[in-house]
Symmetry: C2
Subunit: 416 residues, 2 copies
């Protein structure tokens, strides 16, 4: 069993851990099951009130983890009574043993919650390829069910229990009104920290007391993911386990609205989208070795999809990311990344900004470009790179972090 390592907290972490309000229908407990870590919690148990509906989006990996397979199946039933998340072991690429570990976990949790197997959602994060010792959950989950609470520190404890090598817990909350009824949305996430070998998972869990039918819930989550978690990248490496689940307990007492596009849901949709974006940004801010948070905006593309591909090409380019780490406004590398995206682009119409400083225009260096002004922008902890393609109205915005030597240390040096 390895003890938890304590990397320095990211300089981009929020100054304080927020205290989230209680959310009717949701009770939380955490525990130490000793899956891999010692001296810290590694299990999150969430009790959901009867009538809770679930929605989810998952990794597009062709080699998903066993828990992802399970959640996809469970969603077909739509009801949810319990969530079990463990850190330290991803239960990914574990073959038959992985499926058996999920079945065992679900069985123990269903007994603790007094529900059917299909109402239990599971997620695992940590080492890939090691069998998950699900028997460690025996007794632990029943105890969690007995202790589960909506107390003031519950959400922060939940966010801490699912951390692997994250350097800070990630939480966000919003309120909105549906037809005059106030509803709350709470969310937690973990990022792709990888100090120990094989650790790679983005997990996020969002809860609301709003009453929403499952189809609307899924539609809102799918749409919200497009502008949040699908717009964040640390190193372009898609995990086998990426999981985002949204649960609605219906305790707020609003009248159900079936159509996700109904204008009466506009406030809720905006709050959900905003919360998802905050969680996604927190993941990028805790990217391995990150010292700078980078927003890449692309405008003037032929379509939004084209803009997104170009923005991701920039955000994933090791040369752009090392330039940001070096505080170098290296727009030549941005041009390179635009060019390699394979999307329509006209070299002679490109304009590029770092922060508010336009460094290139019409396919060449901006004659009014000030080295001093640009250097000042690059020294900031948060930097925006903007590219205008001058072709159409397509636009996109994605978030990433810089690529530093600490990333290599975290991911490559642990055996040296």
């Amino acid at each position: 069993m390895s003890s938890a390592k304590s990397p320095p907290v990211s300089p981009l972490a929020p100054s304080a851990v927020p205290e989230l309000p209680p959310l009717p229908g949701v009770r939380i407990a955490t525990a130490q099951a000793g899956i891999r870590y010692s001296g810290r919690t590694d299990v999150l148990y969430v009790d959901l009130a009867p009538g809770t509906r679930a929605a989810g989006v998952f990794t597009r990996s062709k080699c998903p983890s066993a828990p992802v397979d399970w959640c996809r199946e469970a969603l077909a039933h739509g009801g949810a009574r319990a969530v079990v998340v463990n850190s330290g072991n991803a239960n990914a690429f574990t073959g038959r043993l992985g499926r058996e570990a999920v079945a065992k976990t679900v069985q123990i949790a269903a007994q603790a919650a007094g529900c059917s197997d299909r109402e239990v959602y599971v997620a695992s994060t940590g080492v890939i390829g090691e069998p998950l010792p699900a028997e460690r959950f025996e007794g632990v989950l029943a105890d969690c069910a007995a202790r589960a609470t909506d107390g003031p520190s519950a959400w922060a404890e939940a966010a801490r229990a699912i951390m692997t090598t994250d350097t800070f817990p990630k939480l966000a909350t919003r309120t909105a009104e549906i037809d005059g009824v106030r509803v709350t949305i709470n969310g937690i996430a973990k990022g792709a920290g990888m100090i120990a070998p094989d650790m790679a998972t983005m997990l996020a869990f969002v809860f609301t007391d709003a009453a929403l039918p499952q189809a609307a819930l899924q539609a809102l989550l799918t749409a919200g993911t497009k502008t949040s978690f699908n717009c964040v990248t640390v190193d372009g490496d898609t995990s086998t386990s990426d999981t985002l689940l949204l649960f609605a307990t219906a305790k707020a007492g609003n009248a159900e609205i079936a159509d996700a596009a109904d204008p009466r849901l506009a406030g809720f949709t905006a709050a959900l989208d905003s919360l998802l974006i905050e969680l996604a940004q927190l993941v990028a801010k805790d990217g391995e070795g990150a010292r700078k948070f980078v927003t890449v905006r692309v405008t003037g593309a032929e379509s939004d999809a084209s803009a997104h591909k170009i923005a991701m090409s920039i955000a994933n380019s090791p040369l752009v990311k090392t330039a940001v780490a070096g505080e170098d406004a290296n727009w030549g590398r941005v041009v390179m990344a635009v060019g390699k995206a394979g999307e329509p682009a006209d070299r002679d119409r490109l304009a590029i900004w770092f922060g508010d400083v336009r460094v290139a225009v019409q396919g060449a260096r901006d004659p009014d470009y000030s080295e001093d002004a640009t250097s000042a922008v690059m020294r900031e902890p948060e930097i925006e790179i903007r590219v205008d393609l001058g072709l159409g109205a397509g636009q996109a915005r994605v978030w990433t972090c810089d690529l530093t030597k600490a990333y290599i240390e975290i991911n490559g040096d642990y055996r040296s």
Copy 2:
């Protein structure tokens, strides 16, 4: 003007610089034009005998450099009498000034060679976004034309003149027979070294005395590129300037064969392909900060194209590359890279090898996997990662290098 930096020679460099044989119809000169470097050659001039034909493949970037635009147009004419390559300035993203610099370079070279503009090929490598001072070629190219030679050190000098931050010159030679007539193929290349800001270009120039019509020459080059330069990646960042040119002087005296697929060209094709692979591998071996040369082989895919995408996903994964740098046989990250490629894959059929050691089989860790044997493989300077998908007969092989802190230092730390 910056002086040339001297990074340590890659540990993967060949033990000696090969001496290439003279190639009838090709004469070489190098010079110091002071484009950016001082104290080293930065211009390569190649004189080609009348009757020489050209073929070329170029970057797929949507923002290609001005020299790439020029070469694409020149190829439509097919004849070639001179090649001018400069290092220190890529003449990329320089707008109208870039096109004017190419025109000026071509004009000076055509006068020196006594040929038409369309028979001159140009390539530039170095800083992006700075205007190329083409007037520096005045006098220099005429002098080169007068001095051009096929002497024993000419090819090594040519390979050195086009280096930017490469740590060793890259040369290769082959011989073959066409219909009983012996022909020679010589090639030089430069890699994607980036110690100074913005430097990013892969250039390669291949010459043969074989007589081949242009259509066949182009067909052979296009086919050969697929299994060589298109299978090499250092950081997945496609340059604005990638250029591979093949010139055939027809001095060997073989009878022309029009069809590239003619069996009488089999020996020549094999020699050309082999030379292109050697040059491409030399580029990966001089990847920025490289300490290990990695061959990624994918078998059992649904198609060769699918296998290639999966192999590139593995070879470009920062997590796989840092694991190799850390001498860690981290097959979980290989699974991740297979999964994110988006190609057909079945987790439960995957098998993975590091060198000869099978570490995973049927979707789980190989029960006979030996940590000691794998560690021995990972300590070698050259490592093969093999993945069998168990789905079909598709296969691919690509080459890359590890990702080390030196890559970050080279690309990010120069302003710190």
